[in-house]
């Protein structure tokens, strides 16, 4: 019964994010096509749909994280879930969404790429690893954004100080991986992007732990 609650919670939170994605993806696609029709591919550095999308995916997931982190804890407790069960469901659903959203973007990118005016360059990510690893790195970055979002959302639900701490951690998480890339790459002789990927994975673990401490003993407001 308890595992079912985590499963149900994961499913329901994912459905909420998917519902949000049903709005986000078409709007983003329309914006991408419109920009390329108005300005032309060269003006926009021939940026591919996927390349532009992976950046906006992070923003979308950050926002979803804030919404779910701040608005659904009371819902979960009301349904008889523990804080820990909600936390697990939230972490799982973020991972599911990061994967689903990125793969959806890849598929749409293949279709959009067929349009004559669309960009084809994947130039905004300094990722020069194996394509599979690059994809994994992009999924991880999207997941990291979600974790940062839930940290902000849960933080502000707790109180302003935790919310502010969540914002600081988010800013740190958005800048730190790229800054660490050259350091790790040069130190270990790895391909470009490996440093970012390793740092992102380390930050994901750190934020998973932090999210638990933000949710643990949180007071439900009425």
């Amino acid at each position: 019964m308890n595992n079912n609650k985590v499963k149900n919670g994961t499913m329901d939170l994912s459905v909420i994010s998917i519902f949000g994605a049903f709005w986000y993806i078409p709007i983003f696609t329309v914006i991408y096509i419109t920009l390329f029709l108005i300005f032309g591919a060269e003006e926009l550095d021939n940026l591919s749909y996927f390349s532009m999308g992976s950046n906006s995916n992070r923003i979308f997931m950050l926002v979803m994280g804030i919404i779910i982190g701040s608005s659904f804890i009371k819902w979960a407790i009301g349904l008889g879930m523990t804080r820990k069960q909600f936390y697990k469901a939230n972490m799982y659903s973020g991972a599911v969404m990061a994967l689903t959203l990125t793969i959806t973007m890849v598929i749409i990118s293949l279709i959009i790429g067929l349009l004559p005016f669309a960009g084809t360059e994947h130039i905004n990510q300094q990722l020069e690893m194996h394509p599979g690893m690059n994809l994994l790195a992009i999924i991880s970055m999207v997941y990291l954004a979600y974790l940062a979002g839930t940290l902000i959302g849960t933080g502000f639900y707790r109180n302003g100080w935790f919310g502010a701490l969540g914002i600081i951690i988010t800013i740190f998480c958005s800048a730190f991986p790229e800054a660490m890339d050259s350091v790790i790459v040069n130190a270990f002789g790895l391909p470009s992007g490996a440093g970012t990927f390793i740092t992102v994975i380390a930050l994901i673990f750190a934020l998973i732990v932090m999210n638990y401490y933000f949710v643990k003993d949180i007071v439900i407001k009425i």
Binding site: I77, G78, L79, G80, T82, K84, V219, I220, I222
Partner: protein
């Protein structure tokens, strides 16, 4: 199953004592009236049982176990309180399905029959319902989850009088058909007093009264008669409430009538009845 017990429970929020030395026991098969002035701590007390927050000191148990973050105990408790559904786009039907998925004991047939009494359109979104209808959905959900502990906090807020009457009869039916703890926290004392088996009065974060409703009402009595007779009768008594209508007066008096008083009642000049719960409550919680 479903005993709720507070043992010397304290709750502090930001160094302020919200609840102090709470000792209470809620037993299955009984309806408890939780009364108190605004800010007395009623909602906070219920929120502790629902694990919305943690007790600062003492021990709170549900079914013999600490309910806080207890995955086996938390589903046994339902806490219904006024909610803001102004942005809730789910339909009533979705809402019931959600409850069914998370609460295996949820009785869908029972929920539908309860909601049917309020004539609620199941296809309507929660945000499209009136405040009273939303309250009726909450009230029905609380009963239909079949949880052993159901806490209703001002759940009739927004309901019109006929809906409130329906809810009261549903509570009585629920009490008769299932063995569970039902706690009703309310300000509408005069309407709900007949539902209570026991009364708990919270005042300034402390338990002022915790006793069966009959015992509580024995703390006083009510006398009705002509204004002159009543005035004479109450000369040396503690009157807590007086109502007059034309030449007739009705007073609520603390204490028990003496043998001499009883003779007055036998004479037919004054009539005796039980104290009104609301009068006692107001008197007890006056600062």
């Amino acid at each position: 199953m479903g005993n709720v017990e507070f043992k010397n429970v304290d709750l502090k929020i930001k160094k302020e004592n919200i609840l102090t030395d709470i000792n209470l026991k809620f037993e299955p098969g009984r309806v408890y009236g939780l009364l108190g002035r605004n800010g007395a701590g009623k909602t906070t007390l219920l929120s502790l049982i629902a694990t919305y927050r943690k007790v600062t000191k003492g021990m709170l148990t549900v079914d013999g176990q600490d309910p806080y973050e207890n995955a086996d105990i938390m589903p046994l408790v339902d806490f219904l309180h006024p909610e803001d559904y102004s942005e809730e786009s789910e339909t009533v039907e979705d809402y019931l399905q959600l409850a069914k998925r998370y609460k295996p004991s949820f009785d869908m047939g029972y929920a539908l029959s309860l909601l049917n009494e309020y004539n609620i359109d199941m296809k309507k979104k929660m945000m499209e319902l009136s405040q009273g209808q939303q309250a009726a959905v909450d009230a029905s959900m609380g009963l239909a989850t079949m949880s052993p502990v159901v806490l209703f906090d001002e759940v009739t807020n927004g309901m019109d009088a006929p809906s409130r009457e329906k809810f009261y009869s549903q509570v009585l039916n629920a009490k008769n058909r299932e063995n569970r703890v039902i706690v009703l926290s309310t300000h509408i004392v005069s309407e709900m007093d007949y539902l209570f088996d026991e009364v708990v009065v919270i005042h300034h974060g402390q338990v002022l009264v915790d006793e069966p409703v009959d015992e509580f009402l024995d703390r006083g009595y009510q006398v009705t008669g002509s204004i002159e007779d009543v005035d004479e009768f109450t000369r040396d008594k503690k009157v807590v409430n007086t109502r007059t209508l034309g030449p007739t007066s009705a007073v609520s008096i603390l204490g028990s009538p003496s043998k001499e008083d009883e003779k007055m009642f036998d004479s037919g000049r004054l009539s005796y009845s039980s104290m009104r719960l609301q009068d006692l409550f107001i008197n007890l919680t006056e600062d």
